[in-house]
């Protein structure tokens, strides 16, 4: 599968802009010589990011004359970014998009809610779960359609017989050749198959390879099934002091006691900020035993674990505290 224009994390020479940042060089100490007077031209002061479309400082495309590029239906990119924040889809057939993310289009395109007459069949083919299909719109017809979402960075991803799991709020649009399913992990969606999809992120997306631990709020998704699990910095959770710290916040918390840990082959997608994009409703899962996020008890026998804790004499019934303190 090919991912957007970033080389995988950890390869030598990774950041393309590294050499071009004059500010990061040594700072001449005596006298602070003026840099060519006036406002320094700063060659590359806005880092050139030849590979990466989506750097927040990536300059908007400009013509040779210096003015903004004026696009028309022929010059609009086809299935590519117009700028870091807008994506142009060359539509010929159908495309799924989140409600309200289309900003402009050329051509003859109709937008319908799913379930509208003949589109009903799409639910079975592409969504596999009728419960969240109502939040999606089908764009149908021919033309070019520009997508954007509140000036968040957009990236497109090509899947070739692959799978990618993404946070529900980040997924913007996808090719109907892909099938969209709810992930077992609540709040995430999995795309399976071959095709293109567009996802938004708060800041450019960064790819890393496991093993890695990531801030839960910075996680956008993962591809090729690395195994996600929770990780706690247990020194905060352990012992009496840890318990007090956890319960009262006394002594301070670093805010990083809890991460998601990824192990295995694949890639993890991170956004450059820990500001989450709001989740969209992805529907409910049936409230059956054994289904995460369904609200049903996982096992009938473990409904009330607190009541099974021994009541330690002399301590009163501290509920879960006893377990936390290792009593």
């Amino acid at each position: 599968m090919s991912y957007p224009p970033q080389s995988p994390y950890g390869q030598p020479g990774y950041p393309p802009q590294q050499g071009g940042l004059p500010q990061q060089g040594g700072y001449p100490q005596p006298g602070y010589p003026p840099q060519q007077g006036g406002y320094p031209p700063q060659p590359g002061g806005y880092p050139q990011q030849p590979q990466q479309y989506g750097g927040p400082q990536a300059p908007l495309p400009q013509t040779a004359a210096g003015g903004p590029v004026v696009h028309d239906v022929t010059t609009l990119p086809s299935n590519d970014n117009v700028n870091p924040y807008a994506f142009s889809v060359d539509l010929n057939g159908q495309y799924f998009l989140q409600k309200g993310k289309m900003v402009a289009y050329y051509g003859n395109i109709q937008f319908h809610g799913i379930g509208h007459g003949p589109l009903d069949a799409l639910i079975g083919r592409s969504f596999h779960s009728p419960l969240h299909a109502a939040d999606w719109v089908v764009a149908e017809g021919q033309g070019k359609m520009i997508l954007a979402d509140r000036a968040f960075d957009l990236n497109s991803y090509d899947l070739e017989d692959g799978n990618l799991t993404v946070r529900s709020g980040n997924l913007l649009a996808f090719d109907p050749r892909l099938s969209l399913k709810q992930s077992i992990i609540p709040g995430f969606l999995t795309l399976i198959g071959t095709g293109k999809f567009v996802a938004a992120s708060n800041g450019p997306v960064h790819f890393v390879e496991p093993p890695i631990r990531v801030d839960p709020q910075a996680l956008v998704g993962w591809a090729d099934c690395p195994s996600p699990c929770h990780h706690y910095d247990h020194s905060y959770m352990r012992g009496v002091l840890g318990g007090i710290r956890q319960l009262t916040g006394l002594g301070g918390v670093s805010g990083e006691e809890h991460q998601f840990e990824f192990i295995g082959a694949g890639q993890v997608l991170l956004q450059s900020s820990e500001k989450l994009m709001a989740d969209i409703n992805i529907g409910h899962v049936p409230a059956e035993a054994g289904i995460p996020g369904a609200g049903a008890p996982s096992q009938a026998g473990r409904q009330q674990p607190q009541q099974q804790l021994p009541n330690i004499p002399g301590l009163g019934n501290l509920g879960d505290l006893g377990r936390r303190f290792g009593l």
Binding site: Y14, P15, Q17, Q18, L21, Q23, Q24, G25, G26, Y27, Q29, G31, Y32, P33, P34, Q35, Y39, P40, Q42, G45, Y46, P47, Q49, Q52, G54, G55, P56, Q57, A58, N202, G203, P204, H206, V208, P211, I212, R213, V214, D215, A218, D233, S235, G251, G252, V253, S254, G255, E256, E257, Q259, V268, L270, S272, S273, E274, K275
Partner: protein, 216 residues
Amino acid sequence: MPFTKLNGKLIEAQVFPGQKVFSQRGAMIAYSGQVTFTPNMMGGQGGVMSMIGRRIANEDTPLMTVEGQGRVMFGHGGHNVHVIDLTGDTLYVEADRLLAFDGTLQQSTMFMGSQGGVMGMVRGQVTGQGLFTTQLTGQGSVAVMAHGGVIELPITPQQPIHVDPQAYVAHRGQVQNKLSSALGWRDMIGRGSGEAFQLELSGHGMVYVQASEEKL
């Protein structure tokens, strides 16, 4: 240089055993290797007295100590990040703009009110700096946050620079810092240009300005 810019909003720090990095709490995006994040009650370096000083000066941004061995990525709030390398000189910056800095740097709090008397206090109010600011001295790197990209403007004795107080990020070097005002009757009746106050920086050094008037 322990900080590598991954993109405009994300940096990566290499952490080695015995070398500390301080960062704003909650700013870790991801890490690999064996790294621990310890909340720093003191809000930085120095002893209890430094902590009390920072508390009084309102420069006690919650920091955490990053130790261990591995690579850590930092980013915060979608703000643009700018890496400044210090080679023995001093950077003056507001504590809440600090994303991360080397443990090798000496951190202290500085009273800015002595510069400029009453105007100095007004300046503190207008810039949001207050009367105190954090200074970092030594050899190492600092990652500061800004809203929008960061522009570096050199300051020379011949060429003082006027900066919008809201766009000011940090400065370094031997710099005098005073608020100049162009208040007139128009401002009194609400017909001002909106640029009544400017920060005038003179001396030898460099000022960092963000491409936005939004404070952090």
